[in-house]
Subunit: 528 residues, 2 copies
C-alpha cells in the first residue's frame, strides 16, 4: 500500500492545536504515513508535536462554515483538538487519520519504518529466549526438560518453539496432550519456586466436552509434576458453573476422578467484552466534568474496574499462597489460557520472586509471560476506551496487569526496582509503538512477519542507560520476602497516574517523583 | 477529685494485648489516673504500651466464664483488645477506663500533670500573640490598629484580648458592633494580602432578626475596609435559604440595602451533627471487613466525607480567587463564626500565602485561626467516631481542615514545608494530648484554667530540633505562587494515611517517606 494515496492534504497552515497543559498554539499541521506533525510557527522547530497515528483511537469532526474542528482521542487517553481552516482540508485530514490510524497489515506499521540512529537492527531482539531461560535455571534440569516439539508451531500455534515440560513426558506424548487442550496449549512450566521446588504451570482448558473425554497423556503430565508431593492445585479462572458450561462447547475442566491428586479452585475473572466495557465506563467517568462527588464515586463503582483489579490480585495472591505458604505446585488456566491465565501467573511471580522485581527482571517476565506466551496484543489492544468501532476481540488485559502491578508498587514503594513511569510507558506502547515488541498475536506471527529482523525491541531500548535512569525506582531496596498485596477494597486505589494522567494533579506528582529521582542521582554522585 | 477512688484494680497480670501490627502479647496491665500501661512480660521494659486514657473514645466489654475481653476504640481510630483473666478485674478495669477517659474538668486532664525533663513551664507558651503578629506586619499599620477593647473578654468571650480592626473605628464603636454580632464576634482582620493590600476578615452572623435590625457601626466597619475599592465580598458559609431562616432565631445576613458595596456569596457548608455523622459513617466504612469493592465505594460515597472536603476546598478557593485574582477584600462568616468560617479562612491563607506553608508558618496559622480565634476544641473534639455518647456539640471540623490540608499537600507535594506526619500528629493531639494547646474552648477559658502557666505548648514542642526533622517535608521547595487546589471529584482522595492508618498499607507508605527523609538528611550532611 502506498500511504500517499490516503493523503490528499499533506500540509495545512494556520491550524490551532489545543492539548492538555499547553496554551492553544497556532502552526502548521503535516500528515505523513504514520504521524501527525504539528509545528508551532512562533517558536520555530522547538514547538513540535509528533503524534503516532496508530495512537489515535477515535476522531470527531465538526464543520462550521468554512472551517472545521477535529477532536482526536488517543489510545493513551490524551485528547487533542485541531481547528483547521478550510472545510475540504479538514475533511481530508480527518479522512487520512481515519484510514492511516487503523492499518491492518502488520508490515505497514511504523515499527517497520522506525530507524533511529542509536539503535541497530543487528542488536539482539528480546531479552532472552526459552532456551537461555532454561539454561539459567540449573536446579530445574533434573526433572524438567526443554522440548522443541513446537519448533515449527504445528503443535501449538500460540506457543514459542521451545517450552519447559516434565522430563518424564516425551514429545509424542506432548503432541497428544496438545490435542486435548484448547489451541494446543498443553501444560508448560512458567515458574519454579527455588525455596521449595514447587512450580507454576499454565495451559488452556482441557477439551473434555459433553461426553467427558479423558486424555491419558494429559493426566500423566500432571502426575509427573506431582513427584512425591501429595497434592497440587488447579486454579481455574472461571467460576465452577462457567467451567461446567464450557463442556457444552467442547471445553471443560480437570475432573476429580481423572486427576485425583489435584484440587480445583475456581475464581471467576472477567475478560473480553466485559473488561473492555469496564474500561470504557471508567474512562468516561474520569472525563466527567461535573463537580459532583457522589456522581463520580458512583460512576467509579459502576465501572467495576477496581473490582477487576481486586479479583486479579486476590487470585494471584491465592496462587502465591498455594506455592509459597502451602508448598504445592499449581496449574493455572481459564479457557484459552492467553488472558487471565497470564495475568494471574505474572502477578504471582511478582509477589513471590524478587528476581522479577528488578527493572530487567520485570521486563523479562513480561517477555516470557505475555509476548512469548502468546497474549494476542494485536487483537486485544487494537482499540482503547474511545473507539466507536466495537470489535469483539479487544480487552484491556495487559492494562489490567499494569494496573495491578501499580497497586503492588503503590503498596510496596521500596520493593520494586522500576518506576511508575515504566508502567505508564508500557501502557502506551502496548497500544501504539515505535517498536515491534507488542506487534502480532504470537511468536509464530512475529516470525512470519520478520518482526525480529525488521523492527527494534522495546525492552532492549528501555534498558539503555538514559532510559534506565528514568524507569528505575530511586527508592528500590530489594527484599527476598514475598510481597503480599492487601486486597481489601480500602487498600486498592484508582491508578490516577494513568487514568487521570492528562489532568494537572498528575503533573504535580510527577514533579515530586522527579525531585526524588534527582536527589538520588545527586546523592549517588556524591557517595561514589 | 482523687483518681484513685476510681481505680479498684490497678494491676492485672497475665493480660493479653492485641493491637495492629503486633502479634498478641502477654503481660501486666496497670491503670493510673491518666494512662493504661501494658508491660510485655517476655521482653522486659521494652515491650511497653502507654495509652492516654483521654484517647479512648469507646470501650466494649465481653465477659465469658471467669475472664473478660475489653475492646478499646481510640479517638485516633486505633482499636486494641485486652483479654483479662478474672471477671471482677475485667469489670473494674472497664469501669475505671469509662470514668477516667471522660474527665470533665480541664484541670484534671493530663496536660496539667505532664512534666517531661526536656521542657520547662518557663518556656514561652504559644508561638506568637496578636500583639506580635500585628507588630510584624508594618504595612498594615497605616489603616489597621490593634484594639484591646476585649482585654477582659467582656466584649467577645471567644476572642483573644487583642484583635486587629480598621483604624477608623474606635473601641466604643467596636463594642456596639459586638452587640450586633452573634457571640460578640465583630469583624476582625485575619489576613492581609501583601500583593494587593486586600484583606480577609471574619466574624459571626449579624443579629438582624425578623425585623431586619441594622447597626450603623457595623456598616461603618465594613465601609472602613472598602477604602477606595469599589466592591467587597461577603462569603456566607450557609445557603441563602439558611441565612434567611436564621433571621427567625435572631440571626441574619448583611442585606444589600444596608451594605451596598458588599456582594454576598452563599456556599453551604456542613457543620455540627451532620459532619460528625459523616465521620462516623466514613470510619465505619473504613473498618468494613467484607471484601466487596462495590460496597466499599458505595459506603464511601454514602458517608459524604469527600463531598465535605470538596466543598471546603472549593469555598476556600473561591475566597482566594476574590482576594488574589479579583483584588477584593472579603468578610467570611456562617452563624457562630467559630467553625466553617475558620476552616475557609485558614485554607485560603494556605492557598495564597507562602509564609503559611512553612512548618512554623502553618503552626502559627493554626494558633491564630483556631486556638486564639476561639474554635471550641473541648466541645468539638470531646469524642471521635466510635463513641456511643452522642453529645450534640461534637464536630470534626479541625479534622476536616487537616484532611483538606492533606489534599493540598498531596496535590502540591513540593509546596508545603511540613510532612503528612505532622497532620497525623495534629489529628491525634486535637483529641487527646500531653499538651495544653487544644484544651478549653477559648482564650478566656485557657486563662481561667491557667493553661498557659501549668501546661506545655504543643506547637513549641513540635519545633524542637528532633521533632522538626520528623515534621518537615524533605521535598519542600518554597514557591511564591498561589497553590490552587483542583476540586474535581476525581482529584480528591480519601486520606488513607489517617483513615486507614492502622492497616498494613499505610505502614509501607510510611517506610517510603522515611526512606526519602533519610536520603535527604544524608544528602544534606554530604553537601554541608
Amino acid at each position: 500500500m502506498e500511504f500517499s494515496e490516503h493523503i490528499k492534504t499533506a500540509n495545512v497552515e494556520d491550524v490551532v492545536l489545543r492539548q492538555p497543559f499547553h496554551p492553544p498554539a497556532r502552526g502548521t499541521l503535516c500528515i505523513t504515513g504514520h504521524h501527525l506533525l504539528f509545528s508551532d510557527r512562533e517558536e520555530g522547530s522547538f514547538g513540535q508535536v509528533l503524534l503516532l497515528l496508530r495512537n489515535i483511537d477515535a476522531i470527531e469532526k465538526r464543520i462550521s462554515g468554512s472551517s472545521g474542528t477535529i477532536t482526536i482521542k488517543c489510545k493513551d487517553l490524551c485528547v487533542l483538538q485541531l481547528d483547521i481552516p478550510g472545510m475540504e482540508q479538514c475533511l481530508n485530514i480527518a479522512h487520512s487519520i481515519e484510514i492511516l490510524s487503523s492499518l491492518d497489515h502488520v508490515s505497514e506499521m511504523y515499527p517497520f519504518f522506525y530507524r533511529p540512529a542509536h539503535l541497530s537492527l543487528e542488536d539482539q531482539w528480546g531479552l532472552s529466549t526459552p532456551e537461555r531461560h532454561y539454561a539459567q535455571m540449573e536446579e530445574l534440569h533434573e526433572k524438567w526438560r526443554l522440548s522443541h516439539v513446537n519448533r515449527d508451531y504445528s503443535v501449538c500455534p500460540s506457543y514459542p518453539p521451545a517450552v519447559i515440560v516434565p522430563k518424564a513426558i516425551d514429545d509424542d506424548q506432548l503432541a497428544r496432550v496438545a490435542k486435548f487442550r484448547q489451541g494446543g496449549r498443553f501444560p508448560v512450566l512458567c515458574y519454579y519456586h527455588r525455596k521449595n521446588g514447587m512450580v507454576i504451570m499454565r495451559s488452556s482448558q482441557p477439551l473434555q466436552g459433553a461426553n467427558r473425554k479423558r486424555c491419558r497423556e494429559d493426566e500423566l503430565v500432571l502426575q509427573a509434576v506431582m513427584d512425591g508431593s501429595d497434592k497440587g492445585y488447579i486454579i481455574d479462572t472461571r467460576s465452577s458453573q462457567q467451567a461446567q458450561q464450557a463442556r457444552m462447547t467442547g471445553g471443560g475442566f480437570e475432573s476429580k476422578s481423572s486427576y485425583n491428586c489435584w484440587k480445583r479452585l475456581h475464581r471467576q475473572m472477567e475478560r473480553g467484552k466485559a473488561l473492555q466495557e469496564s474500561l470504557i465506563k471508567l474512562v468516561e467517568a474520569c472525563g466527567d466534568q461535573s463537580h459532583n462527588m457522589d456522581r463520580w464515586l458512583s460512576k467509579l463503582e459502576n465501572s467495576k474496574w477496581l473490582s477487576h483489579v481486586q479479583t486479579a490480585l486476590s487470585t494471584a495472591g491465592l496462587l502465591a499462597e498455594c506455592v509459597e505458604r502451602d508448598g504445592h505446585s499449581v496449574l493455572v488456566h481459564g479457557s484459552e489460557g492467553t488472558d487471565s491465565t497470564l495475568l494471574v501467573s505474572t502477578l504471582a511471580q511478582l509477589i513471590m520472586d524478587p528476581s522479577c522485581r528488578t527493572l530487567e527482571g520485570f521486563l523479562a517476565l513480561l517477555e516470557r509471560e505475555w509476548v512469548q506466551a502468546g497474549h494476542q496484543f494485536q487483537l486485544r489492544c487494537a482499540h482503547s476506551a474511545y473507539s466507536h468501532a466495537r470489535l469483539q476481540q479487544e480487552a484491556p488485559m495487559f492494562l489490567l496487569l499494569l494496573d495491578c502491578v501499580w497497586q503492588l508498587w503503590h503498596q510496596f514503594p521500596l520493593a520494586l526496582g522500576f518506576s511508575e513511569a515504566l508502567l505508564l510507558r508500557l501502557a502506551t506502547e502496548a497500544y501504539a509503538s515505535n517498536y515491534g515488541t507488542f506487534l502480532c498475536n504470537s511468536d509464530q506471527e512475529r516470525c512470519a512477519e520478520g518482526v525480529k529482523e525488521k523492527t527494534h525491541c522495546l525492552f532492549q531500548a528501555l534498558l539503555r542507560p538514559r532510559e534506565r535512569d528514568r524507569y528505575s525506582n530511586p527508592l528500590y531496596e530489594p527484599t527476598e520476602l514475598a510481597i503480599w498485596p492487601s486486597v481489601h477494597p480500602q487498600s486498592l486505589q484508582l491508578w490516577r497516574g494513568f487514568f487521570l494522567r492528562w489532568t494537572s494533579e498528575a503533573r504535580h506528582l510527577e514533579e515530586a517523583q522527579e525531585e526524588i529521582r534527582n536527589m538520588v542521582i545527586e546523592w549517588s554522585k556524591l557517595t561514589c
